[in-house]
Amino acid sequence: MNKISYFLKEGFKNIWVNWVMSLVTISVLSLCLLLLGTSLIVSFNVKNLISQVEGTNQIAVFLNAGLDQKAIDAVGEKIKSISNVNKIVFISSKEALEIQKKQLGEYKDLVSGLENDNYLPNAYQVSLKSMAKYSDTVKQLGSIEGVKKTTQNIDIANKLTQISNVIGVVGIWLFAILAVVSLFIVSNTIKSAVYVRKREINIMKFVGATDGFIRWPFVVEGLFIGIISSIVAVGAEYYIYIGLISKAFNVLKIINPIPITSFSGYMIAGFLISGILVGICGSLISIRKYLRV
């Protein structure tokens, strides 16, 4: 207990004595966390959008005319056996006509003569599990015997998948670069704190302090820098998300932003963990060298 309170006190003192460096470090680290968090949140939103589209995403599979019920069922079984297929609904040519009539409303007379000579094909309405395999699935559907054609909106599907991939890749790179940058800055700050106390460390060594005893106050310093930075980043992220990103999405209409409350727990935990990790690693890197006496 005695030791812990000493380490905490010394750690705080380091931050305070070196307040300019501490301030710079906290700003940079929270900026890094903020950029990382924002890129993750945007990517979550796009993923969310994709899953919304996926949920309503359906392919119409039109069948050849003149198939009997047995053949129609056989095609249905084959479609079901494709792994990416989630659900299928059979729409007979009669039902298709009814749907058309409904859509035409008061102009339904236009198709009134067709009851006896229905040119509309039988069809399956197929919904998919994943947009990513959209084009493969369409190919598979097209190759089934008895299928005349399939409707495709492959462009939207491809674009959304591409966007989500790009955001994913950018996010990972951003994370890697920012992690290195913040690690560098944190370790430099602690290094200067160590330098200021070099004399003290030397004296500690010759009166018999263990490495651990010398190291702890600096680890505490890194820890506090990490915690403070993540708190700052959480606050800024709330402001940015509610104030800017949500508004922008609302203007665009097509995207429903994920409400911040649904992920704030993860966000706070993520910021805290990454902030603390960077802080502690940074301090461990910087004091290693000075302990070799």
């Binding site: 005695n2 030791k3 000493y6 004399r199 003290e200 030397n202 004296i203 500690m204 060594k205 010759f206 009166v207 018999g208 302090a209 263990t210 490495d211 005893f213 006496v293």
Partner: protein, 259 residues
């Protein structure tokens, strides 16, 4: 600057207490015989300087040893080896049955707790008071606050600085600062004290004061190794053992006369 003529009297009164505490607090490094041994110790620095050329030396428990020699003779190297700051190139150093060369890195702090070190430049921490400077050395060893609060004032009174506990180093004279560092060296009840030119930065009158303190500490059983090139001081205390180092070798070893 004024002297403290009554320090020794104060101290003598407390001798029994100190001995008692010593027994209670003693760190038993490996039991057995307490002594320091250099066996064919050679030190060549990376830049080629041959600082020590085969040193054979035995210092018994309770001895007071002067180590003298010109600058560059190898005195500092000898001390650095004892403190495990440098490793010998060849040969062996043994402290209380513990081999310095075979020692694990993580055991070094515990070796250092068995010695108290006093430097020419005092090496006090400027932004700490006298009390804190001494308490700091005790805290480092993991001592509890209660123990620290009890022992620090006692050791400060031992060196005659009880009234200066709240002063900062820059408010003290050189002699007083050296007494603070002596208090720091004593705080963990070391087996031996290494004093590296302890009087080098102090005027002669104060030097005598420091010497008297060291003598006093030695008379209570603590081994003292004092490096100095102050010939008059060695002359005055010539009843102690005097080792002369020249060009990395021991050129003279005059045994002490009293004790």
């Amino acid at each position: 600057m004024h002297g403290h003529p009554n320090i020794l009297q104060q101290n003598r009164g407390k001798r029994n207490i100190l001995i008692l505490i010593s027994i209670g607090n003693g760190i038993n490094f490996k039991g057995g015989v307490k002594l320091i041994k250099f066996i064919d110790t050679i030190k060549i620095y990376d830049n080629g300087t041959r600082a020590l050329k085969s040193i054979n030396l035995k210092i018994d428990d309770g001895e007071f040893v002067f180590i003298r020699g010109a600058s560059g003779a190898g005195k500092s190297t000898l001390i650095k080896l004892l403190m495990h700051e440098e490793m010998p190139t060849a040969g062996e150093i043994n402290i209380n049955g513990y081999s310095i060369t075979k020692m694990k890195r993580r055991d070094v702090p515990f070796l250092r707790r068995t010695m108290g070190v006093v430097f020419q430049d005092f090496r006090l921490i400027h932004n700490m008071t006298v009390y804190e400077n001494v308490a700091f050395a005790m805290r480092v060893t993991g001592a509890v606050s209660q123990e620290i609060r009890r022992r620090v004032p006692y050791v400060l009174s031992l060196v005659g600085l009880a009234k200066k506990a709240r002063s900062f180093p820059h408010e003290l004279s050189g002699g007083e600062q050296q007494r603070v560092s002596l208090a720091r060296a004593l705080i963990n009840n070391p087996f031996f004290i290494i004093a590296d030119e302890p009087t080098g930065n102090i005027d002669p009158e104060m030097s005598i004061e420091i010497m008297e303190l060291l003598d006093e500490i030695n008379s209570r059983g603590t081994t003292i190794i004092m490096v100095t090139h102050d010939a008059t001081l060695v002359e005055r205390y010539s009843y102690h053992r005097i080792i002369t180092i020249e060009g990395g070798l021991i050129s003279e070893d005059i045994p002490g006369s009293s004790i």
